[in-house]
Symmetry: C2
Subunit: 445 residues, 2 copies
Amino acid sequence: MRLSRYFLPVLKETPAEAQIVSHRYMLRAGMIKQQAAGIYSWLPLGYKVLRRIEQIVHEEQQRAGHIPLLMPTLQPADLWRESGRYDDYGEEMLRITDRHERDMLYGPTNEEMITDIFRSHVESYKQLPMTLYHIQWKFRDEVRPRFGVMRGREFLMKDGYNFDLTYEDAMHAYNRHMVSYLRTYERMGLQAIPMRADSGPIGGDDTHEFLVLASTGESEVFYDSAITDLKFGDRVVNYDDRAECAAIVKEWTTPYARTDETHDVALFHDIPVERQKTSRGIEVGQIFYFGTKYSEPMGATVVTADGSRVPVHMGSHGIGVSRLLGAIIEASHDDKGIIWPEGVTPFHCGIVNLKQGNGDTDAACDAIYAALKAKGLDPLYDDTDERAGAKFATQDLIGLPWRITVGPRGLANGKVELTSRRTGESEEMSAEAAIARVAEIYATI
Amino acid sequence: MRLSRYFLPVLKETPAEAQIVSHRYMLRAGMIKQQAAGIYSWLPLGYKVLRRIEQIVHEEQQRAGHIPLLMPTLQPADLWRESGRYDDYGEEMLRITDRHERDMLYGPTNEEMITDIFRSHVESYKQLPMTLYHIQWKFRDEVRPRFGVMRGREFLMKDGYNFDLTYEDAMHAYNRHMVSYLRTYERMGLQAIPMRADSGPIGGDDTHEFLVLASTGESEVFYDSAITDLKFGDRVVNYDDRAECAAIVKEWTTPYARTDETHDVALFHDIPVERQKTSRGIEVGQIFYFGTKYSEPMGATVVTADGSRVPVHMGSHGIGVSRLLGAIIEASHDDKGIIWPEGVTPFHCGIVNLKQGNGDTDAACDAIYAALKAKGLDPLYDDTDERAGAKFATQDLIGLPWRITVGPRGLANGKVELTSRRTGESEEMSAEAAIARVAEIYATI
């Protein structure tokens, strides 16, 4: 993309309403615009990151064998009356009456609807196991929406639901989700720690939250520092292999890690004192096993091998897709702006032309731009008339991990500059070498 | 995808509520499930087609230089009070009150919000021309939703908005949209004819609808048969070239083509009588130029070269993404089921194992499946225990354009069968030849 043809409305001033750094930088980098309390437009740069995150979630869900579908945003109230949650859910549920006076609601989650789909179409235990998921906009009418997309009212969530014949099968689904989530977050450059949690309005016995450590997190967390040394890396997982998934879950759940809701002081003090850590954490996902809580009242049953009919064991599993943008920025920024991890960056590489209108720098930038695109990369070429200082400030603010700077003096020696946003280090090299280096970096992402 | 691990709930019976063929087949092929009047879940097969259509729309919009963003589904009523449409829009607008008693609505379209984004962030004529678009769920509270996704209440639409300095610039944006739409629909296997139309509640002077000819269409259309001979084909268009875009628009708007709303009997009778055609048509898109209708009341202005401040010229341009599934099926089916055009098919190729459990056919199917995937294709392998007849019926119903059939008798002679869903013709060949043929077909799509 050429910046002169893009819509990137960066702000010079820090907006007064933003209390935390991710909200400030998302506004200043022209990623979002508030349209009402807790309701945002995703401007082009923000939308691009949202799509990259969504794409990683889709890939990892499908790698684990989960099947995508899409449920609507609006739901009939009657489904929620069947589960008993219509009255329980409280004021966070946005209730709507249509022109025929039918009670509807904007879905805050989808346990009821997915159970309805299941009971309408699945009859036999032979169709199990099955995990269905979607990525769809949700609404929770928070009384005080704040922190930008971190606690918005309209938000994008991946929610998945497993249907299994037995408790043991459902626990494998639970483990499979934990494993796939570990990989999902790591691809986004995040360390998200699974912590034993409370189930809240979803219900159920087994549940883990995934928390990203950040000083602005909403929860206090307590953990054994051993857990932050764990890396998922590029291990190849057979998601059908119960023992393999269970072993990975054990690896990540053995070190102590809990939120204030489930914190156990005695257990915590069993950890060697130098490994006892407390911090704050941002919740970016949660997995639940809740057995037959929905399948029983709603009649989601299957016929078993012996001809009897039993309710299925279920769980639900969420990733806060839009909230992840805020969490990633909270975890990865400096005082100049955002530092995107390569896995989610909106553009792979910036190109800064220090002397727009100079025949040599223009030609060199055009060639670098074309070469990066030919390698399947997505560069942002700042071809505007701004001064060099302003161009660098924009690049630092929007946080592309790599920048190629092209100026007349360097070009005279056959050199451009390749700069890492994270370290700030620059290196002079030929344009060809810079292109090859950037391509090499993204080849492994 | 292996069918044994997929969720494809095909129905044997024709559901009573479905009046038109696309609705019947979408229900029978397990593509959608109604959750409330005019509100659907997109089951896995339907979701896949929806995503393919969305992807084509994104690609063609971006090819034309249009910039994607994403506006929320809910909007504050105040924005619509500024344009004067809050009271005008009538009962089709779903009005919502949140917990703080603020008036909200579920967006039926986005002229007001995009104008708000523009006026908040754009100051100078130098930032023009600009076209922003999104693909987002909309809601129109139709009094009698019917025909499945063809006239739903919650529906997915691409809506784009151009901002230009002058009338002439805006007319180029209009033409650019028409050209990009012609290409978009053709990639989906559709012939969508631009017809002069009425502007309705969007307002404006210039507008064309795109209609797909089908006996179940909601509009009566009148056209010169010369227009159905036009093909966009694989021409390379420079979307910045005004003359080139204008010439393509002229090519498609010179032959007479109008809906009953704008039909001119005298002009129609000037066409040679053998070319005078009437039919019914399904609207799948519409483009509008409406000048300063929104920019003036809402203060969306730019500073020009001479320092004066002028309201921008705007237009809006929609493609009915979810409705397109219905339109494509209406235009492409037979009495056995859907016939997907290659551009939008949910899976590229079916693989039918005539004797599941037989070592030879299983191994051959596994190898074909792996080979197709290695070529970047997305096959659906029917590895279930169903009888051959039932497998063929499912394949015909869900309408994949190509099928490779593997049976023990053919295999003994080193042959499989490649069948075209459209023609019904089968050809015996080696597995390698069938794989190569399928790959070759999709290489040009």
